[in-house]
Every structure is written in C-alpha cells, then in structure tokens.
Symmetry: C2
Subunit: 258 residues, 2 copies
DNA sequence: CGCTCATTTGAGGGGGGTCAAGTAGAGTGG
DNA sequence: CCACTCTACTTGACCCCCCTCAAATGAGCG
C-alpha cells in the first residue's frame, strides 16, 4: 500500500494559502466569485491566518465570538458539552469549511473548537465583516452560501442520527468524509482519519465499541480496509448500498460465495 | 381545565401582525433593533405576508429558493426525505422563527416545509434582501443573529438525538417547546401540540409507539398531563430532571410514597 | 351514527450499550 | 535501537431498551 497517498492536506497548499487569490480553496471559501479588486480589499481588511496545533483550542464554550474561521489545512472538530458533562461532537471541519457559527445567535460560543491535527485557519473578524460586506457586492451572498453549506452538513448529520442502524451511520459517515476530501483535492478512497474512534462515536451517537466493531465488520465484508486511522475504501458501491439501505450485508462482495 | 389557555397564537397577534413595527414578534424577528425609518423601508420593500393552511406546503424539495420565511402565527415543520423515502422531521417552526434556510447553499430547497396548523408567515424576498441589507445598517448583523438562532436549534436537536434514552429525548423536547412558546407569550405549562405523535417520533428519531408510551409514562409519574395533543406540564422541575439525567425516574413526585 | 385516522396498549425479539479484558501503536527515555 | 508506558483500539459476554408487528380503543368529522 502506498503510504504517500494518505495526506493531511492537498500537496502544495502550504505555499498557496498565503494569499486568498492563490488559495486552492478559493471556490469553497468566502472570497469565491469576487473580482480581483474586491479580493485584494478583502484580504487587506479581513483575513488573518492562524496556526492551531493538534489538541489546541480555537475557542472555548462561553468565549465571546469575535470571528469566523475558515479551515485551510488540517482538520478540526466542534464539541458541545451537555449539562451532564458529556461531550457531543457537533461537526468535523475540513479545509474550506466554516468554523465558529455557533454563537452567531448570542455572540457567545456554545461549542468549543479543537484541532484534530496541526491545522491552519483563516480568521475573519466579525465586526469588520459587516462593514466590508456593505462595500463588496457579492460577499454577503457568498457568506450566506457558505453558511448554507454548513447548515446542510448539520442537517445531513441530523439525518445520520435518526433511526439509522450503526453500520448505516458508519457507512454514511465514511462516504461523506470521502466526498469532502475529494472536494479539496485529496484522495476519495484512501483516507487518513484525523479523529479518534471516540470522536466518531460521539459524532454518530454510538458507543466507541460499536464504531470499532462496525469498521471491523465492513472490513470482513470487503467493503473497506482498516488499519488504525488509515481507511481504504475498496468497494464504494457496496459502501453506498450499506449507507442507503442497511440490509445489503449478505452476498455483497462474495463473502458467502467465496 | 381552562380551554382558553390552549392557544394557536398569542392573543391579539392577528391584528398586530399587519405591520412589522406593531408585530409582537419584532424582537425575535428580522427587523429587531432597526430604527423607525429603516423599519418602514424594510416593510415596503421586503415583507410579504402569506397564509398557509394546515397541511399545505410552503415549498417542496427541489424548488428554487426565492425567499426566506418568518413564521408569524401557527406552526410549521420542515421535513427532509431520505433516499429510502423515509421522512425525517428536521425542525418545528413556531412564531418568530426562520423557515427556509435549507437551500441557502445551492439555491434549491433540500427540505419541504408544511404547515401543521393554519399559519401565517412573512415572506422575505432573497434577491431584495441582499440589496436592502447594504442600505440598512444593522440588518445584516440581525440576519446573522436570526440564522444563528436557527443553527442553535439545529444543534440542540442534534444533541437530542445523540445517545439519549427515549424519555430524555421526550422530556427535552417538551421542555424546549415550552420555552419557545413562552418566548412568544403563550403559556409555558399548557401546550397544545400542533404536531402528531408521528411527527414527534420522526423528529426525535424514535418509533411512534415509543413516543406514545413515553408520554403515558410521564403522566403516570405525575410529571405531565396528556390528553391527545393537549399537554399540561405539572412538574417542570421533574421534567428538567428527566431531561438532564434520565435516571431520576423513581421517587420523583411521590408515586411510590403516595 | 358510522366512518376514518390518530393514538394507545400488548407481546416478543434483536441491536447496541455496558462492563471487562486483551492487543497494538505511538511517543519517550535509557 | 530497544524497552517501557500510556493511550487508542479491538474483542468478548451479557442484558436492556426500543423497534416491530398486531390489535384495540378513542377522537374527530361528515
């Protein structure tokens, strides 16, 4: 197996990300669709790159919300802590995706954001955003679009949690992750998961052990290869079948006929 | 029991809602925090009241998104249809709450919105919103706040679905509903549910029967009174206990000592 | 009054949670 | 480079909650 394929971020991104106009995430990101002049303006006034090391917090619960963040490399998670102290993973955030929308309502963060691996984000000052949005036509609309994508992911997540069997949730999770990695130019079939089994469990509403068993089972069925946090999707069609109607376990990949 | 307390909408709202400046939802709604002049401008250019009868659709899946809606009376649900044809209730929308954010990403609705009872909504034209937002200072920020609230509800919803027992989900659901009704001036203790058991089940990720059993059980425990869609919260503290750590079933309201 | 649909109630089985123990990796210091 | 440790992950056994199927009861309405 080729180890080089498991990547943390698209190759070459490190150099490009210093400027919005060069950034490979541009079409996903806030600046999308803006002309060169607006882009330059935006970059001067808004953007502020920032590094977050693995395990480091981008913000905490209760912190005043001063900015929105766009992940540019690596991966983050947002976690909400329930009254009982249980952590629930609200979302995972890959390059190009917005972080920090929680707290948009009250100006105070309801979640905490943690880097799963060494990551980089673009910080967008909120107070300036409103000012700039009035000057730069299209930015407001683009902001709504990016927020909309975030909302869409939340709804997909909710859909994951409702009345789905464990293996359906897992399959949908892997499928979604694969699609999102493909969006940023990474391999859709060979993933290096930035999150632990525990994170996945808290995201999917399952027990840690169930996640582990589920992955093992999918490997036995020939759908994926698992080795720690390295996952290789062997049979995307079978994965899709698992995701959409969990009953497709038998006779999938010739486990019985072999 | 006083039937008059079960209300579809705050008393007097019907007359007030014809104007944003008079609407009792103002502080929840988009126009909040705007001065009189901006408000008038907003009202002339944006707002368009609309009635939706019980069971009628506000929009369908796949429809182009042309507007955002703010519920002003009644109640609606948004439903997403999974690949298998199963309906999942994404959210319930009470007066003052935003409807139609799905599809903000792609411009096409991913859910359908249905009125649970005869309702009224304010239609906010999207194409005009962007223009007006540039003229009216504060509108952009307020829009983000309202969207933020919607996001917050989504996250609460997701929190409901993750690793919670059936009675915890039910308790949290009732509690949340009670709080939201109180926000619009309705009774927090005597609710007339606008949605069916099936809707609740599809919202909470449970079987219809489990919802029914759960409500019955909470009634036996003296926490609530249920009669069809009329729910009276007898013991809010006990409800909160049930919601926060499901283990508080025994010895709650003296069922054993009585 | 009789229809239909919503809701309740019952019985039974399975999926996944919990508890518990074992194994493999990753990082650290000798 | 290797041994050690700690954490992450896997695997097993058992049991309970909730889903499923099925039937009865109740509510709303023409």
């Amino acid at each position: 197996m080729n180890e080089a394929v498991f990547l943390e971020a698209p190759a070459g991104l490190a150099r490009l990300r210093r400027s919005c106009s060069l950034c490979s995430l541009q079409q996903l990101c806030l600046p999308s669709g803006l002309d060169a002049e607006s882009l330059a303006h935006l970059e001067r006034t808004l953007r502020r790159p920032r590094r977050v090391r693995r395990g480091e917090h981008l913000y905490f619960v209760g912190t005043a919300q001063e900015a929105l963040f766009v992940a540019s490399s690596g991966a983050l998670k947002t976690v909400s802590i329930s009254e009982g102290g249980e952590a629930h993973v609200v979302g995972f955030h890959l390059p190009g995706e917005l972080v920090g929308l929680d707290g948009l309502a009250g100006g105070v963060h309801r979640c905490e954001a943690v880097a799963l691996v060494d990551s980089e984000v673009c910080e967008v000052q909120l107070d300036r955003l409103n000012a700039v949005a009035r000057e730069v036509p299209g930015l407001q609309a683009q902001l709504l679009r990016v927020i909309g994508r975030s909302l869409e992911r939340d709804h997909l997540h909710a859909g994951l949690l409702v009345r789905r069997q464990a293996h359906e949730r897992l399959a949908l999770f892997l499928q979604g992750l694969s699609e999102r990695y493909a969006l940023v130019g990474a391999s859709a079939s060979e993933l290096r998961l930035p999150m632990s089994r525990d994170d996945i469990a808290r995201y999917l509403g399952l027990a840690l052990e169930t996640v582990s068993r589920g992955l093992t089972r999918m490997q036995e069925d020939g759908v994926i290869d698992v080795r720690g946090r390295r996952v290789c999707i062997r049979d995307p069609a079978a994965l899709a079948l698992l995701a959409h109607d969990g009953e497709a376990c038998e006779g999938l990949s010739g486990r019985q006929s072999a």
